[in-house]
Symmetry: C2
Subunit: 108 residues, 2 copies
């Protein structure tokens, strides 16, 4: 990753996905990678930052509006991944959907 996600002037939406993994891999990495690729191709997608260190991961994706988030949530391939996430890969996860109101950027 070379840069942080580039975001426009607010308002827009953020989906904050925080998760604790199980010990089960079984296709996890490939699916996580594929979901990022698929998200990037969705209408209304703005950008994404994603980090995992061991069990704990945080992925923040930015979207133009709530309709774009709803559309992505219902994507067929994403629905299948969500199901495997619950049965195999995640011990716990939280999804916070939030309206970005302000943004400060710093760059050297």
């Amino acid at each position: 990753m070379d840069n942080l996600a580039t975001t426009p002037e607010p308002p827009y939406y953020a989906v904050i996905f925080t998760s604790l993994r199980t010990d089960t891999n079984d296709g996890y990495s490939e699916t996580a990678e594929r979901m990022l690729e698929l998200a990037r191709a969705q209408p209304g997608f703005i950008g994404v930052d994603s980090v995992r260190d061991g069990r704990l991961g945080i992925t923040v994706s930015y979207w133009q509006d709530e309709a774009a988030i709803k559309h992505w949530k219902q994507n067929t391939e994403h629905l299948i991944a969500q199901k495997s996430g619950k049965t195999k890969w995640y011990e716990q996860f939280h999804v916070h959907i939030a309206r970005v109101e302000r943004c400060y950027l710093f760059s050297k």
Copy 2:
């Protein structure tokens, strides 16, 4: 970290801090740790999740309202850390302030 941050029924606020580190350590880990401890002690603080993997880090903190965020931003010790962050520790960082409108929780 044993669990993800516990958050109440929306609405409340999230501060999404995404950063790319420089190669300079010089007190970084101690200050990062201290800032989490100090944030937890602030009025209006709800919870925090924080992950770093190499250069890229994401910290999401949750707050009862915008006044609590403003108060934390102006904390004297935090202001000093923010200054060192810009001069020493961060190549780039983004702060997105967002109003949490919905939340889904999953736990095995």
